[in-house]
C-alpha cells in the first residue's frame, strides 16, 4: 500500500453532505470536565466526522454541525457518562441523499 498518508481532511468529505443545522441546539454535549477520560480522548480519533477536538486547556469539545449521526461516541462513552446524546430534532441534522 502507499506510504502513510498525511492527516485526512474529513472536512472535505463532509462537504459532500447536506445538513440542516439546528443552530444553538446541539444534539450532543460533552459534560464539563477538568481532565478528559480515556473514553473521551478516544473520540478524537474514532468519530468519523471528527466532531471532537481538544481545546487549549486540554479538554474535549464537540461541534455537531458535521455529525453524521452514527452513534459511535454514544457507544464509546457509554460507561462513563461523559456525553449527553440525543437525536437531533425532527428534520434537522444530516440529510442523506443516498444513505
Amino acid at each position: 500500500m502507499n506510504a502513510e498518508l498525511p492527516s485526512m481532511r474529513v472536512e472535505d468529505k463532509l462537504y459532500y453532505n447536506r445538513y440542516l443545522v439546528d443552530v444553538g441546539r446541539p444534539h450532543v454535549k460533552v459534560r464539563a470536565h477538568a481532565t478528559p477520560s480515556p473514553q473521551l480522548l478516544a473520540l478524537l480519533k474514532a468519530c468519523p466526522a471528527r466532531c471532537y477536538e481538544l481545546n487549549e486547556k486540554g479538554q474535549v469539545e464537540v461541534t455537531v454541525d458535521g455529525c453524521i449521526e452514527c452513534g459511535t461516541c454514544r457507544i464509546i462513552s457509554g460507561p462513563t457518562g461523559d456525553i449527553e446524546w440525543s437525536y437531533p430534532r425532527g428534520g434537522y441534522g444530516v440529510l442523506f441523499k443516498f444513505g
Binding site: 502507499n2 498518508l5 453532505n17 453524521i68 459511535t72 457507544i75 464509546i76 443516498f98 444513505g99
Partner: protein, 435 residues
C-alpha cells in the same frame, strides 16, 4: 397533541419499521409511524444489498416499481495484504433470472419508495418527528410515545421499536442495555459516481448485472473488520467497517482506514476518476445471537437493528430487519385477533415465531463466531492474509526454485508465524464456531 388513539405506533421508517407498519396497516390496523428524517430514508445508511425473498413476502411485485440498482450475478471475496489480494469469486448466469435473488439498492431512495407503500396501505406516516420518550403507565406498561413535535403523549395499544442500532428509546427506558463497543462495528462509506458504461466495463457487467466485493485482511490493520465494494447503476458504494472497540483500542481513524482502502492497488483502478457525492457512517450490530436483547415486554416489541439482529458472517441485516418487523406485526395481529391485550405474555408469541424463522436459526448457528473473530483478530485479519498472499505468490512466481522447496518454504512460513499448535487450534476453533 394527537387525540386519536392508535392500534400501534411504529418508531422508525427503516426496513424493520416499514415492514411492521405495512403488515399491520394492510390488515386494517390503525397505525402511526414516526420518523425523524425529513422523509423516510433520509437517515438510513446501508451498503446496500436487498434480499428479494424477504421483500417479496411484504410486497410480492416490488420489482415492478421499486428503485433497484443492479441484480447481483457475481460475488468476490478478497483476502488482502498491502499490495495484493487473493480472491475467490463466484459468477453465475443462473442469477440472470426472471426474479433475481439479490439487488444493490440505494437506501435513501428505496426506503422513500417503501414508505410510500406503507402510506398506501393506510398507515399515518409522520416524518420530521423525533420520538423522545416512551410513555408508560403507573405499572410501567408502555402505552405510547412522546415526541419533539407536540406536547403530550400519543397513545397506542402497542409500540413497535424499530429505531435502529443506536436504540436510544429502548436503552433510555431500560428495556435493553446499550450496545457495547465490542458488539458493534462502525462502517464508513463513500458513494463514487462514474458513467454507467465505465462501471460495466470495469466490473465486466452487462445491462443491469451487478457485483459485490467483500474484502478482509490487512486493510483493517489487525482490527476485526471488512471492506466492501458494491456496483450500483451509476455509482459504486465503497466502505469499510471495524469493531468500535478496536477503533477505541488502536486509535485508528475510520476515514484514514477508508482512504487507505481506496488507495490499495487492487481498489484504486476501480474507482479512478469517480466523483464522490456522499460520505456516511453507520453502526452495525456484530454481537450475533448472544447480543440479542429482550425482544418484547408490556406493550412493546423491538425489531431489526435495534434488536441487534444481524448476521455478520453472511453480511445480512436488512433482511433480518424486514423479517423481524413483519413477524412482530403478525404476532401483534394474532394477539389482536384473539381480542387479547398487548401484554408481555401475549407478545412473547413474537419471540416464538422469530425462533422458528431463519432469523434466529442462522444467528444461533454462528453464535460463537463474533467472539472468536474479535479475540483472534490479529491472526484472522493480519497474519493469515499475509501468509496466504505470500504462499500464493510463491506458488505462481516462476523463478527456478524447485517446487518441492517452494512448498517447504510456504509451510515453514505458516509454522513460523503460528506454530503447529496454533495452526491446528485456529482451524479447529474456526470450524467449531462455523458449524
Amino acid at each position: 397533541m394527537i387525540d386519536e388513539r392508535f392500534d400501534a405506533i411504529v418508531v422508525g421508517a427503516g426496513m424493520a419499521g416499514n415492514a411492521a407498519a405495512l403488515t399491520m396497516a394492510k390488515r386494517g390496523m390503525n397505525v402511526l409511524q414516526l420518523e425523524r428524517g425529513e422523509y423516510a430514508g433520509s437517515k438510513n445508511v446501508q451498503g446496500a444489498i436487498l434480499y428479494a425473498d424477504m421483500m417479496e413476502k411484504l410486497i410480492p411485485d416490488f420489482r415492478e416499481e421499486a428503485p433497484l440498482e443492479r441484480h447481483l450475478v457475481e460475488q468476490r471475496f478478497w483476502i488482502m495484504d498491502d499490495r495484493s489480494h487473493l480472491g475467490m469469486q463466484y459468477r453465475s448466469d443462473d442469477f440472470n433470472e426472471e426474479r433475481p435473488n439479490r439487488y444493490t439498492i440505494i437506501r435513501a431512495q428505496f426506503d422513500k419508495w417503501f414508505s410510500s407503500k406503507v402510506r398506501e396501505a393506510g398507515a399515518t406516516v409522520l416524518c420530521e418527528t423525533t420520538v423522545t420518550d416512551l410513555a408508560r403507565d403507573d405499572h410501567g406498561r408502555v402505552i405510547g410515545v412522546r415526541t419533539d413535535r407536540r406536547d403530550g403523549e400519543i397513545h397506542a395499544d402497542v409500540v413497535v421499536l424499530a429505531e435502529g442500532v443506536i436504540g436510544l428509546l429502548g436503552t433510555r427506558a431500560g428495556l435493553r442495555p446499550r450496545p457495547e463497543p465490542d458488539k458493534v462495528a462502525l462502517a464508513v462509506k463513500e458513494m463514487h459516481f462514474l458513467p454507467r458504461e465505465t462501471i460495466e466495463a470495469r466490473f465486466n457487467l452487462e445491462g443491469d448485472e451487478g457485483l459485490v466485493i467483500e474484502a478482509a485482511g490487512t486493510i483493517s490493520r489487525g482490527m476485526t473488520g471488512m471492506g466492501f465494494i458494491y456496483a450500483n447503476k451509476e455509482c459504486i458504494s465503497l466502505g469499510i467497517g471495524c469493531l468500535v472497540a478496536d477503533f477505541q483500542r488502536t486509535g485508528e481513524t475510520p476515514y484514514g482506514l477508508l482512504d487507505h482502502f481506496k488507495r490499495h492497488p487492487s481498489v484504486a483502478p476501480l474507482i479512478a476518476g469517480s466523483e464522490v457525492k456522499e460520505y456516511s457512517a453507520h453502526l452495525i450490530p456484530e454481537g450475533g445471537y448472544k447480543a440479542i436483547p429482550q425482544l418484547y415486554g408490556e406493550g412493546w416489541v423491538v425489531a431489526g437493528d435495534a434488536a441487534q439482529l444481524n448476521n455478520a458472517v453472511h453480511r445480512e441485516g436488512s433482511n433480518l430487519a424486514m423479517t423481524s418487523g413483519r413477524i412482530a406485526a403478525e404476532a401483534i395481529l394474532e394477539v389482536k385477533s384473539r381480542g387479547d391485550r398487548m401484554t408481555a405474555k401475549n407478545l412473547s408469541l413474537y419471540k416464538r415465531m422469530l425462533d422458528d424463522s431463519f432469523v434466529m436459526k442462522d444467528l444461533k448457528k454462528y453464535k460463537d463466531l463474533p467472539t472468536l473473530m474479535h479475540t483472534n483478530s490479529q491472526n484472522y485479519f493480519l497474519t493469515y492474509p499475509q501468509l496466504f498472499s505470500r504462499a500464493m505468490q510463491n506458488f505462481v512466481r516462476v523463478d527456478g526454485m524447485p517446487k518441492a522447496e517452494k512448498e517447504k518454504m510456504t509451510l515453514k512460513s505458516f509454522v513460523k508465524a503460528r506454530s503447529w499448535t496454533g495452526l491446528f487450534g485456529d482451524a479447529f476453533r474456526f470450524a467449531r464456531a462455523w458449524r
